[in-house]
Symmetry: C2
Subunit: 518 residues, 2 copies
Amino acid sequence: MATKKKATGQAAQNDEQATQQKTTGQNDVVPVAEQEARFVEDLADMDDFAQWYHAVVRKADMADESPVRGCMIIKPYGYALWEAIQRGLDERIKLTGHENLYFPLFIPMSFLQKEAEHVEGFAPELAVVTIGGGEELTEPLAVRPTSETIIGHTYARWVQSYRDLPLLYNQWANVVRWEKRTRPFLRTSEFLWQEGHTVHRTEEEAEAETLKILNEVYVDFAEKELAIPMLKGRKSTTEKFAGALRSYSMEAMMGDGKALQAGTSHNLGQNFAKAFDIQFLDADGTRKLAWTTSWGASTRLIGGVIMVHGDESGLKLPPRVAPIQVVIVPIWRKDEERALVADAVAAVERDLRAAGIRVKSDWREQTPGFKFNDWELRGVPLRLELGPKDVQKDQAVLVRRDTRAKEFVPRGELAARASTLLTEIQQALFDAALAFRQRRTYQANDFAELAARMADRANLGFVEAWWCGDAQCEAEIKARTQATIRCLPFARSTTATEGACVYCGKPAQEWAVFAKAY
Amino acid sequence: MATKKKATGQAAQNDEQATQQKTTGQNDVVPVAEQEARFVEDLADMDDFAQWYHAVVRKADMADESPVRGCMIIKPYGYALWEAIQRGLDERIKLTGHENLYFPLFIPMSFLQKEAEHVEGFAPELAVVTIGGGEELTEPLAVRPTSETIIGHTYARWVQSYRDLPLLYNQWANVVRWEKRTRPFLRTSEFLWQEGHTVHRTEEEAEAETLKILNEVYVDFAEKELAIPMLKGRKSTTEKFAGALRSYSMEAMMGDGKALQAGTSHNLGQNFAKAFDIQFLDADGTRKLAWTTSWGASTRLIGGVIMVHGDESGLKLPPRVAPIQVVIVPIWRKDEERALVADAVAAVERDLRAAGIRVKSDWREQTPGFKFNDWELRGVPLRLELGPKDVQKDQAVLVRRDTRAKEFVPRGELAARASTLLTEIQQALFDAALAFRQRRTYQANDFAELAARMADRANLGFVEAWWCGDAQCEAEIKARTQATIRCLPFARSTTATEGACVYCGKPAQEWAVFAKAY
């Protein structure tokens, strides 16, 4: 990202400030050098992006390894971000007319086999319960990898008449897909998500629902709250959901130029309606097969937030979803100063909270320098410093996490100024991410150009090109460059309606976005 | 409950109103008689409480059967109640200083075996995954029945110094216990719950935490929001959590006089700390074993709400958690009237919503009588009727679900009056439940009295009696009467400090509450 390199040297600068500070009357303070060593290693080198990612996840206390293969523990700071994501999505899911419900975790194996493409896609990844209450089960139960089948089975009973339609339901749940290679948030054997499942009278209604979810729920949330610009489009047949008629997705560009599929919405056509016999008596008196959709977004979004906005100092959280929006770091040397500062901090904290700001004061024993680094690592959008001199001058210092811009603000204006800055930071994060994506989006006329782009690790990004629509070309490009078609974007950056396929050179009408992906 | 029998005849009365009404211009309206038949069967006979319960769950669309043995589908109306319960508990869990996180669904079997009592308690109820990704697992994984073991294993790593303590964490999750006999919400193989897991430096702190959760989270929530009076106390050794030092619970009396354990909080002592080696370096420089607690409340609470407040007409939802607090039923005969009424309804709906009331207008094709019954069945606290005459008089009719009291209210006062009534209904439900429990709480001096109370099905309730503390007496009472010790209550209804054991007659110091339980 544009701003990523600017941070270099900031940790060292905070270190200096830190060594100048002393805590008072504490015997058990860890030596400053040792305290701050943790910030130096790992994070500085963003060129090893995978290593940087793991370091941020661990150091910012987002997640921890678990004793269960491929499963993570989501720690409180990471979970608080998930709660913000849940709130933002849930609100939009309800505003678009959906209700939440809950289906069982287990799915009879025979259900999964009813839709041919679906079972082919998910069978290799299943966790299977074979023992219940000490006895072998007559029919093994899959732990849900997704719930189209058990929901489809039930909808067949719930849907009788056209008057029952549409069914607009969603559930928040955990799902399990036995993954070979896992990464916290991005790909784990168990993950948390929401999955929407709807039934409609006509193909048009199902298609409208699929696109409404993509636009009004997923993209609206991701762009406004997570400050992540999204590329919207249709998935190629190879990349679509197992059993879907058409899949749509939103794709985000990570800090290393790779793509993250951040939410998908599927028009399932009549495939699941056929497999599970979801029929309704229409107004014209005839029985008809229904049309269904499904759509999901998951804890993967947390990985997206980390990889889009983070820098060498750690996380940068968008203010609208940050668990802590303003951290107050009190500064003092002597005990008398501490008391003086404490009163002012308490008053400021009240003011900010009254203005609806999520605020936390950090009274730990460590040095201010340690705390500055720690909260930068955790990506808190605004830091408020308040020391004895500030008390005298009736002011405080506000420091932005994104630009490091620092300003002295009179006490009476702190809440208003902090609110304004939070809004500005939210926009600035989005703008920076968008500018980065635009800079790293290329076009390729032939395979050599495409391959060269995919080989240039330092400038990796999205490559737009014509594609003939042949899965064979798509597969060979993937085999040779690791790039997949992320989507066939709704908005094309070309006005031409056809060109030559980037791989085979034959006439092509599909404008595709290729990228390496998580 | 006191009010349960008063309802008799109300369904019939609504039927009459309904048959007087006609819908306009609809060809496909189901005949009134057929529409309303569903309200008559099943619900009227509350003497068959189990049958009544199943009928309410089904008819009020709270839950549905699933194709997976022992698992239910929580339908949107039931799930909305769960969301209200989650909000109320989560708020209190956070206010008492806890944070949410998330641990894996799966637990290695070897973990469960580390605490002897724990494995004995849960092993018979486990669902076990033996296949993952198409291959047999080297170590089978239990689907969590509760998470003390995997969390204990992890806490051993997170806790190093006394400065790390206390750890105050909670998770919202699904758990699985393979039950032989299941009932929606009350006992299902999979259920949703929150489970808190904390670590402390001393026994006193662990005990204080255990009681704080019981009092400030569970009982406070259940009494204020669910309007269910709770009996608080300690569990007998037989009834305590497998692996706990002491268990506390809140117990509620259902409409049939049986008890429902509605939330439990366990002081785990050092049992799990020993099993998982949770040690910390204390301020005095020595390594010490930590003290842990755990506590949980689940979708079972929904069953409690149904069984405490319900009557022959169906659910009665406490206003504070009711998904819909006021339902507006527009009344019209002719199309012109419909337009007139629609304007007034829209205005009233806006007023109520602006006052923070959850309101819904029911414009379905069915008759008002059908709708009255339907919303009574669903337990909406207040019904607002609005017809052409009301428009002329600039008023509306408000009808309470609990007392059926009906009043005409001027348009301008509707929102304020509805708010007041909702508060009154909330309190009235609590008062009625408390009065019922008091009326159905008895004392027994000997086993004959206790047995007689447990045999009197029509007046079943809680029986208080002295108990010698011997598990043998407890077991024989259970074998002969089905009554178990629900708790040793904190508040005793006797000032004596000892008496004769209700079973063996030996000196006894424990004052116990016996009841049949769900």
